[in-house]
Structures are given as structure tokens and as C-alpha cells.
């Protein structure tokens, strides 16, 4: 393996990592800091409570539309196992196994 695959450090990649790290820490620390200074309006609070769910919906649904039958079947199996077992690893295994089965069978 080329040493670049291990020690390579591209300036733009580094910039992207720094950007992500700063943005993430701003969320972690900034939320606590801002909320300790101000009282957010009920409307802002309501918006924030809906963010996590709608964000994941917005990630998953377009990926399903793009991914076709194989991906959709995997997502359904993942969801069913998750609802039944509440176990993160089992759901991922189940869903991935389903996708793998369809992929191999085709």
C-alpha cells in the first residue's frame, strides 16, 4: 500500500475536517452557552424539537428513492428489526444481510 494511503494529508481535506470540527463544537458548546444567556421563544424551542426526526427523514427518503428495490428492502428489514429488538447492531446486520441476499441473487 502506498504511504499516502496512511499518512497523506491533503490541505483541502484538512480544511473540510477543521470546518466540520468547528461547526460541531459550535453546536455542542454554543447551545449551552447561548441558552445560559437567553431564554429562547416557545416557537424556536418547538422548531428545535422537530429537527432531529425531520433531518433523518430527509436523509433516508431520497436515498431510498435513488437506491431502488434492493435498498428499500434493506431499509424495511432494518426498521422491522429495530422496532422489534431495539438493538442497533442487530438491525444493521439484518438490513445489510437482506441487501446482500438480493445483491447475490441478482
Amino acid at each position: 500500500m502506498a504511504s499516502g494511503a496512511i499518512w497523506g494529508l491533503d490541505p483541502l481535506t484538512l480544511a473540510a475536517i477543521v470546518g466540520m470540527a468547528v461547526a460541531t463544537y459550535a453546536c455542542r458548546a454554543g447551545g449551552y452557552w447561548v441558552f445560559s444567556k437567553i431564554t429562547p421563544t416557545p416557537f424556536l424551542r418547538a422548531v428545535l424539537t422537530y429537527i432531529p426526526g425531520t433531518l433523518f427523514v430527509s436523509f433516508v427518503l431520497p436515498a431510498l428513492v435513488k437506491g431502488g428495490v434492493q435498498t428499500a428492502a434493506g431499509a424495511v428489514v432494518t426498521l422491522l428489526v429495530m422496532l422489534r429488538t431495539r438493538s442497533f447492531p442487530w438491525s444493521m446486520l439484518g438490513g445489510t444481510a437482506a441487501v446482500w441476499a438480493i445483491w447475490a441473487w441478482r
Binding site: 494511503a5 480544511a15 470546518g19 466540520m20 460541531t24 425531520t54 433523518f56 427518503l61
Partner: protein, 234 residues
């Protein structure tokens, strides 16, 4: 009745770390997949470890790595991390009774180590009367160590396996989001916001392919719909 003061001890850190062990096992596949995705996106092992150690947010990392491009998408990656991690904004304030008593590295370090899992555990500990804020730091530190090590292992595995694009293993990263989605459902109150988010996200992704914009558009449209609906109802 006066409550005992909030403290920050090594013993509390250790207890938090031990309580996080089941969570550590549960997030091993998540960390492995993130490492594999980083390798598939073309990041070096060093870049991958830097990202895991400083961002320490699996959802944001997977999302960005799944849409990686060359040259690196600096602005879109930053915006995606900001959007995905907006949920963290609300987590810090909830632990206020502990954090308000901390200063310096104990406060800002604990905030750096805050993720969904140790936050959930710490909240339970705090509500059960726990007064040792070292707990959240210890649990977070254990999660951070596991995250950096296991995602590095994933990167090494990806380099050995050399999976072709479209391999079923890459479905794992979508499965992570499906699992998180299942955990977010609170009941009928979510139906309308989620439907709006789905419609706007799918529509935007078809109109403007190859960008992250659909995630932000869907989340903002759905959340605003939910909040406006709640205001009108009241």
C-alpha cells in the same frame, strides 16, 4: 431539603465510563462502517483519525463521507456537520444543573465529549439524584476512545477488502440512519412534519442532484411546519 453540591471526581468519571460499556458495544458497527466509508471516500488513515477525533459525530461523518468529492467539499462538509449536529444544541442546556457548576476544561471538555448516548445516560443519572458531573465526562471519554480506535480499524479493514462501489456493505451507513430515524418517532405529532420533510427532501434531491441541499431543505420545511402547527393549535 438542600441538595448536596455538584462535584467532579475521578471516581465519578470511572463510574460513567463503566456505565457506557453496553453503548460502546452497540456502536462498534457504526464506528467500523464510518472507517470503511472514509477509506472508500479516499481519505488517508491520518485524515480519518483526525476527523473521528475532532468531529466525534458519526452521523455527520457518515453523511459527509457518503457524498465526498475531489477536491474536498469544504463548505458543504461544514454546512452538513452544522445541520446534522444542530440536535446537539439542545442537549447541553438540559444538563445545566451539572454544567452550571463547572469551569474551564471540566465544562468545555465535557461539552466536547457530548454525544447522544452519553447524554442519555447522564440525564438518567442526574435525574436519579447523581451529583457527580465527572460522570458525563467519563462516559464521553470512553465513547470517544472507542470511536477513534474502531473507526481506524474500519479504515484498515476497508483498505484490505477494497470493496467496489455499490457493494451491499455500504448499505450499513444508510441502516444507521434508519435506526436513528426509528428512535426519533414520538407518535402522531410527528406525522405531518415528517411527511412534509420527506416530500420536500425528495423533491429537492430530484431538482438539484449532487448537493446536500435536500437534507437542509427537508429538515427546515418539516420542522417549521411542525412548529407552526403547534402554535396554531394552542
Amino acid at each position: 431539603m438542600t441538595q448536596p453540591p455538584v462535584v467532579f471526581t475521578r471516581h465519578g468519571m470511572w463510574r460513567g465510563a463503566r456505565a457506557a460499556v453496553p453503548m460502546l458495544l452497540g456502536t462498534v458497527p457504526f464506528a467500523l462502517v464510518t472507517g470503511i466509508a472514509a477509506q472508500a471516500a479516499g481519505l488517508s488513515a491520518l485524515e480519518q483519525v483526525l476527523m473521528s477525533a475532532t468531529v466525534f459525530g458519526g452521523a455527520a461523518q457518515l453523511l459527509v463521507l457518503g457524498n465526498w468529492a475531489c477536491p474536498a467539499p469544504v463548505l458543504t462538509a461544514t454546512l452538513a456537520a452544522l445541520t446534522v449536529n444542530l440536535r446537539l444544541v439542545l442537549m447541553g442546556p438540559v444538563l445545566g444543573p451539572w454544567f452550571d457548576r463547572l469551569r474551564g476544561w471540566k465544562l468545555w471538555g465535557s461539552l466536547f465529549l457530548l454525544v447522544d448516548q452519553n447524554w442519555g445516560l447522564a440525564l438518567r443519572e442526574m435525574n436519579a439524584g447523581g451529583r457527580d458531573a465527572g460522570w458525563v465526562f467519563g462516559a464521553g471519554m470512553a465513547m470517544w476512545l472507542q470511536w477513534v480506535v474502531m473507526s481506524a480499524v474500519g479504515h484498515a479493514a476497508g483498505a484490505t477488502l477494497r470493496l467496489p462501489a455499490g457493494h451491499p456493505l455500504f448499505f450499513c451507513s444508510l441502516a444507521v440512519f434508519v435506526c436513528m430515524l426509528a428512535g426519533q418517532w414520538r407518535g402522531r405529532v410527528d406525522l405531518l412534519p415528517w411527511a412534509v420533510a420527506a416530500g420536500v427532501a425528495v423533491g429537492t434531491s430530484l431538482i438539484w442532484p449532487g448537493s446536500f441541499a435536500y437534507i437542509v431543505a427537508g429538515a427546515v420545511a418539516g420542522s417549521l411546519t411542525g412548529a407552526v402547527r403547534d402554535m396554531v393549535r394552542r
